[in-house]
């Protein structure tokens, strides 16, 4: 009896799990746009471009992830430009001409972004220096203690 109840509970759980997964997938089904690409390479470029470009409305999302109306418009624009045979650089220039460098998730290395690009290296260097100083101090202290012991 107990065995039976247990297996029924298990199958209920399984059902709930399947239902949950199915419900989660409905979101995906709605988000997908029926786009037809000429080949796999074009599709890959489309995916690459929409993840490299920022959604301007919801500024911490890229164009591929965003559901904002402007993001939909811009995705369509990118798709159309790909169909017209524009290169990736041309498409990025199109976006930068209208929305500025901000639209690129990977900002170009130039005067006003130098701090942004160099800061990680500088911070790493500072961290390394601090580490060296602390290790030296400790080892000196340790050596001193060893000496005092002996």
């Amino acid at each position: 009896m107990a065995q039976w109840g247990n297996s029924r509970m298990k199958s209920n759980k399984l059902r709930m799990l399947i239902l949950t997964i199915a419900l989660l997938l409905t979101g995906l089904a709605q988000a997908a746009e029926p786009l037809v690409f000429t080949d796999a390479e074009q599709e890959a470029r489309y995916k690459h471009l929409t993840t490299e470009l920022r959604c301007l409305v919801c500024q911490n999302q890229n164009l591929a992830d965003s559901d904002a109306e402007l993001a939909q418009d811009l995705r369509k624009e990118i798709y159309d430009m790909l169909q017209m045979g524009r290169t990736d650089d041309e498409i990025k220039t199109f976006m930068v001409d209208r929305y500025g460098d901000f639209v690129l998730y990977r900002p170009p290395v130039q005067g006003n972004t130098l701090a942004l690009w160099l800061m990680p290296a500088v911070l790493l260097l500072i961290g390394a220096l601090v580490l060296v100083v602390i290790v030296r101090k400790r080892s000196r202290l340790l050596a001193k203690q060893e000496k005092e012991k002996s």
Binding site: L56, Q59, E69, L70, D73, D97, R98, Y99, G100, F102
Partner: protein, 181 residues
Amino acid sequence: MISRLLPVILFVLLGVLLAAGLRIADHKTDIPSPLIGKQVPDFSLPMLGREDELVTPGDLLGTPYLLNVWASWCVTCRVEHPFITDLAESGQVRVIGLNYRDETSDALGWLQRFGDPYEFSIADVSGRTAIDFGVYAAPESFLVNAEGRIVFKQIGAVTPEVIEEEILPRLEEMKNGAMGK
């Protein structure tokens, strides 16, 4: 000595950083437009409610104007509406609307309900022209000089401060520049 002062120095630096962050907090999401100083992008759009009358940038040359991007679904547009109306009624600058991604009937209803401050509005139903203008959220406003060049862009509501500090001084400059010629 230095190791004792270090936390204090770091604290002060952090304080300065946070204070600077607070000061720009309201405008942190504003994106500087690359269109400033450039010609108005080309378009050919119908007037709102008069589908057979097309407007191009060439038709707007000759006098400075404020192109105000609005929509009936845009909440902040209602906030700036009285100020836009005041500016238009003062006669200091032509105010032209760009109705963005809207249903014509909704747009006309909105103007009827709140009043129509615009000389006319042009209708960008698809939002394609707005992309050329780099519009990413309504309301946005572009101040354009007589030669069709964009001299200033306001992202978000046009408030009395924006009119006083950004728009009117630039109009004054344009007038003086024209007289200087």
